[in-house]
Symmetry: C2
Subunit: 212 residues, 2 copies
DNA sequence: TGGTGTGAATCGATTCACAGCC
DNA sequence: GGCTGTGAATCGATTCACACCA
């Protein structure tokens, strides 16, 4: 079983590999990839071992081939359809972030409660009434949701997503969501991130960890 | 030495405590706080032990007093002055997020390269020309910066922040920044977070980890 | 009885160190 | 010689389990 941390790093490696490809590079060594990713060479090798990928001692890893292997491990071959709830500044930022994304990750619709937004298009995707969240989510056959609403609305939205059959949530609201066991939640907590940095500034401690 | 993970959880506990206070609660037990935070009771107790805080076996922890103790551990008593670079949707989202924040964390100015933004106020704070980043940062005496610019500009901005004496960076750009040893960097990588959730949806694996 | 505080055990992730290969 | 792949060692964080207390 591949660890959660390894999953995150694989995603990072893939992005770095794509950049290297654009530079017409063909091969990388684990220590190069490690340095780009801010990690160590043995760690890169372990991560790749986890998905059963092998390089060659002379050439290192074939960049294009490795990127493909990571993709076939991480991605759903049919793509992942996503809905986003909450079209404030943050929601819009996320929408535009993933508009340019490869078709693997596809935000197919957004939801809000503001009548001024409902019915319009946000980043070329329809913005629907949050009251229709459950029915539309079923209709659109999505399995993943992004929550970018204020804290006091988040649990309610989460519940609706879960009853609509969603099994993965990326939550930006500063609340720990309660979800059933089969649902995966990733919390992105801006306040905590901010306060952590502030603590390290204040205490004069330096960075150690390779990061979340 | 208090671990990085514990720092993050302390920030979360403080927020939860504040919410409990607003509900007129006076005391909490470790298992209650744990359940709100999505962790375990022994972990809460260890975290509090790390900052030398003691509760009472009968009453648990005094909410107001504990929140104060966490604050005096985490916060700089003089507050932390922050600048934000990159006033796109994400930058604006962050600005408005922390406008309402207690005075401990204070975004004092923003920077952008768009002439339409320069000179105006964003969330009641001046938006300055990114060309003036170094001089203004020194002038404003800030130690912490938030990077919300596109990936290809991030390293350059980071370098400028570092030469201006900043020792903590919260980075939203999808790049691993290279910084000197004494600078703390926290990466918030939206693409990776998104891809992680997509992986767990696709693989049918459920949540385990208490989270980043 | 039902808490807290904490040494000891466990668990997981990272790093070491080296065999095998080009 | 410098790389990969990987068992073994290490390190850090979490959890257990229990003494102690109100």
């Amino acid at each position: 079983m591949v660890s959660e941390k390894t999953i995150g790093r694989l995603s990072l490696y893939r992005r770095l590999l794509t950049e290297l490809l654009a530079d017409d590079r063909l091969n990388v060594y684990s220590h190069e990839l490690a340095s780009l990713a801010g990690g160590t060479a043995p760690q890169v090798r372990r991560d790749l071992m986890a998905i059963g990928y092998s390089g060659s001692p002379s050439k290192g890893y074939d960049i294009a081939d490795l990127a493909d292997s990571i993709s076939s491990f991480l991605d759903n071959p049919n793509g992942t359809r996503v809905i986003l709830v909450g079209v404030g500044n943050l929601g819009r930022a996320i929408m535009s972030y993933f508009k340019i994304q490869r078709p693997t990750l596809n935000i197919v619709a957004s939801f809000d409660s503001d009548p001024k937004k409902i019915g319009s298009d946000i980043c070329d995707r329809p913005c629907c009434d949050i009251a229709e969240l459950e029915t539309k989510a079923l209709e659109l056959d999505v399995r993943m949701g992004v929550i970018a609403v204020p804290a006091d609305r988040a649990q309610n939205v989460s519940d609706k997503l879960v009853t609509a059959g969603i099994t993965g949530i990326l939550n930006f609201a500063p609340t720990r969501l309660k979800v059933p066991d089969h649902v995966y939640v990733e919390h992105v907590d801006l306040t905590t991130s901010m306060e952590k940095v502030a603590y390290f500034v204040q205490s004069g401690r330096k960075s150690t960890e390779p990061d979340a």
